[in-house]
């Protein structure tokens, strides 16, 4: 314990943390503006009739009020860049961002989860103690050093993302069949000159193996002083290639810039001093290095946080591979990125016991195209949609040419076919189950069909 404390509270330069604050804040500003200007707020959070919420009761604000959390996020992000009202800004950014992300599972992306975690951590670290509006207003908060945990915890978080993304790639589909990369890369077969290589499977194999080794090792190479410059070269190349090939938005830039936190203060000094001159921010000349007192509360916080961040991805290793890929148990919050190409076709049926009538649901009447696509392959969303259909059809009645059709107690059924990583589609959920009666729990889902298709 003593050695842990020694490690966590060792004094180190604040500069990498300040650099991280400015860069990450700017990426948040750009990302939020991009979201707003692409019209995604309306498309994803105003238009849909139904939302696949993570937590029951947490739903979007009505209509155009949904712009509010985005405005709050933007203000918070700007506050982070300038280190202005830092504590309030980080908390606002964290809460608004996380609120938006838990509204609909349809939009879950691992890198949004990453952003949420980083914003959470930023609430606790004194990244505004240098080169900031707060420290200009109140020079007494200025510091040139921080306890090491404030930087290590962010490095740890980045390392976890890479490492577990790498571990997840140790999988037959990825390494032996080069899937789903083979599917995605062949799509570039029309590129001039290199197109033919993209169509061949050996390039997919090369990408798959390189990606796996890269993810597993890059955090360690970034930690080593000698290897760091080379490692960073690979970070830049790797993420620019993924940015060019896949529709993953700002994520590559988040990683390229976030990993700068692995670099020592000497590198950050160079660009931060220019920023300081430019902003006419002046360092307090009398500032001394400070000695940091150990704080049990902080030690506990750091250890618990790290433990949870290790536990969440590790939980999925105990799942049967079938449960993981086919049933998607343990897929979320465990850095399983780009591992699956799944397409599903889901047909829902509402049966009425009284009239003995069956209604085939047109999903487009209730969900957006994006929601249909995500729901069709993810069991918890299938169950949520079935429950929603139940509320829509229970005690309903609608006109037919034979008079009104009354539905008292409907049962909800679905027939779903799914294809995974280039395999032909197979039955995923049979029509016989009454989904209304099924419970979604952490136990294996017996109501889903076993995975039998070979690659």
């Amino acid at each position: 314990m003593n050695r842990i404390n020694q490690y966590l509270f060792k004094e180190t330069s604040i500069l990498p943390l300040v650099g991280f604050r400015i860069i990450f804040g700017m990426l948040m500003v750009i990302g939020t503006l991009r979201f707003l200007f692409n019209g995604w707020v309306h498309q994803l959070y105003i238009q849909p009739k139904f939302y696949f919420g993570f937590i029951e009761g947490i739903t979007p604000l009505p209509g155009n009020w949904m712009y509010l959390p985005f405005i709050v996020l933007l203000i918070g992000a700007i506050g982070i860049v300038f280190g202005a009202f830092y504590r309030v800004s980080t908390i606002l950014a964290f809460i608004s961002f996380t609120y938006i992300e838990i509204l609909d599972k349809t939009n879950y992306l691992n890198h949004y989860y990453f952003v949420s975690l980083v914003l959470f951590l930023l609430c606790f670290v004194p990244a505004n103690a240098y080169l900031s509006w707060d420290s200009k207003r109140n020079p007494s908060i200025q510091k040139i050093s921080v306890p090491q945990w404030t930087i290590r915890i962010l490095q740890f978080q980045l390392g976890v993302v890479y490492f577990f993304a790498g571990v997840a790639k140790i999988h037959p589909d990825w390494l032996i069949h080069a899937q789903p990369l083979a599917i995605w890369l062949q799509a570039y077969r029309d590129l001039p000159i290199v197109g033919d290589y993209f169509a061949t499977s050996w390039l997919a194999f090369a990408f798959s193996w390189f990606g796996c080794i890269y993810d597993l090792t890059i955090p360690f190479f970034l930690l080593g002083n000698k290897t760091r410059p080379y490692a960073y070269f690979f970070v830049v190349v790797f993420h620019i290639v993924t940015w060019l090939l896949f529709p993953i938005g700002v994520f590559p830039w988040v990683m390229i810039f976030s990993t700068l936190i692995f670099f020592p203060a000497t590198l950050h000094e160079k660009w931060l001093s220019k920023v300081a001159t430019w902003c006419r921010w002046e360092k307090d000349k009398n500032l001394l290095n400070s000695h940091f007192h150990r704080n049990k509360l902080i030690t506990a916080f750091v250890l618990v946080y790290a433990f949870i961040q290790l536990l969440l991805p590790i939980r999925s290793f105990f799942n049967h591979p079938q449960t993981l890929f086919w049933h998607e148990e343990g897929m979320r919050f465990s850095w399983r990125v780009m591992l699956m190409h799944k397409e599903g076709f889901a047909t829902f049926y509402v049966r009425d016991k009284n009239s003995k009538r069956e209604i085939q649901v047109r999903n487009e009447d209730f969900l957006t195209v994006g929601q249909i696509d995500q729901m069709a392959t993810q069991p918890d969303m299938i169950k949520q949609y079935a429950d929603y259909l139940y509320t829509q059809f229970k005690d309903s009645s609608f006109q037919t040419i034979q008079g009104p059709l009354q539905i008292r107690k409907p049962s909800i059924h679905a027939e779903i076919y799914v294809s995974l990583n280039g395999r032909n589609a197979q039955l995923f959920l049979a029509k016989k189950h009454n989904l209304q009666e099924k419970k979604y729990t952490f136990a294996p889902h017996k109501w889903l069909e076993p995975f039998t298709t070979k690659l």
Binding site: A187, A199, M338, F345, E358, G370, N424
Partner: protein
């Protein structure tokens, strides 16, 4: 199940085949059918008689069938003109049509009038009971019909003009971004397939109303040509899938792409199913309404077969191509 892969297959060849030998010729066919429709109408307008009305009806039918070949091209210029909806929304709203005619105060281009214009509106205006006397005794009605026809003609003209500049960017758009031309082609192809399933068969059969059928939802109910339209729509999708040109020139297709990816089973399943559907349609009674009344099981079988084939199209084919089923640009991870 895996066939020999062909890494040299290029999607741009598929897009060029589709554009030059299918899209452009088919739009031109529809344009010429609508031009003839307009002139037939003019002759009728000047000198109304029953014989002229019959040739007008016959020409309307030819044009409507031709329209089935382009309604799935709902991207680029076709989408800008919203051809699929403005020419083909059914069931037509007869009340809105009568209200428009009575008031003479309407804007046919407004979205609220989509179901009061296009081919389905003409189905009602030309084929409903006492159509001839209704048309010839009311000047308003004649004006309305004339305006519908010239609007349709104007929209296809604009579409063709736009395509002349749109073509070059289109045939090079082979990326898998959800807004790239190749994705647009495949997504709209599948969307049209699903729309066809619901609107031409599912709704009239009562698939979503507890199987309580409703013939009022049939396409072209007044003329009774819904069966020919259904056949043409399936045939059009078959031609596109197999890379057959409307001008007789064949070339690279989605089918070839599946074969190049080694997806022989999927490719032949889809290929065979088009033929099966066409046979099923041919074995139906003379009209869909007659089938609904006397041979419903055949229609249900057809509906189920089309429904089941969606799996091959929407999951097997789409996942082999590696495109995203979405109509907007979004991030993934």
């Amino acid at each position: 199940m895996g066939g020999m892969k062909d890494d040299t297959f290029k999607k741009t060849e598929l897009l060029m085949q589709l554009t030059d030998n299918y899209i452009l010729p088919e739009y031109t066919y529809l344009q010429s059918e609508l031009t003839i429709l307009a002139s037939t109408w003019n002759s009728f307008d000047k000198q109304p008689n029953e014989i002229q009305l019959d040739s007008l009806k016959a020409q309307w039918k030819r044009a409507y069938i031709r329209f089935q070949y382009v309604k799935m091209l709902d991207f680029g210029p076709g989408m800008n003109q919203n051809l699929a909806m403005s020419l083909g929304t059914f069931p037509t709203d007869t009340l809105a049509i009568e209200t428009n005619i009575a008031s003479s105060n309407y804007n046919l281009s407004s979205i609220s009038n989509y179901d009061a214009t296009g081919f389905p509106a003409l189905d009602y205006l030309l084929f409903s009971k006492n159509a001839y006397s209704n048309i010839t005794t009311a000047q308003n009605r004649k004006v309305y019909i004339g305006e519908i026809i010239s609007k349709m003609k104007a929209e296809i003209d604009k579409t063709i003009t736009e395509w002349s500049t749109f073509r070059s960017s289109f045939v090079d758009g082979t990326s898998n971004a959800s807004t790239s031309p190749f994705s647009l082609v495949v997504n709209n192809f599948i969307r049209d397939y699903e729309i066809l399933k619901w609107t031409k068969l599912g709704y009239p059969l009562g698939a979503n109303t507890g199987n309580i059928q409703n013939p009022a939802l049939l396409e072209a109910r007044y003329s009774g040509i819904g069966k020919e339209l259904l056949r043409a729509n399936i045939h059009a999708l078959q031609q596109i899938y197999l890379g057959k040109g409307g001008n007789g020139k064949n070339g690279k297709s989605m089918h070839d792409y599946l074969l190049a990816l080694g997806k022989t089973t999927t490719a032949t399943t889809i290929e065979n199913n088009w033929g099966i559907f066409l046979n099923q349609i041919d074995s139906l009674p003379t009209s869909l309404e007659a089938a609904l009344n006397s041979d419903k099981q055949k229609l249900i079988d057809l509906y189920n077969a089309i429904h089941f084939n969606t799996i091959a199209l929407k999951t097997d084919m789409v996942s082999a191509f590696g495109i995203l089923i979405t109509y907007s640009d979004n991030d993934g991870d």
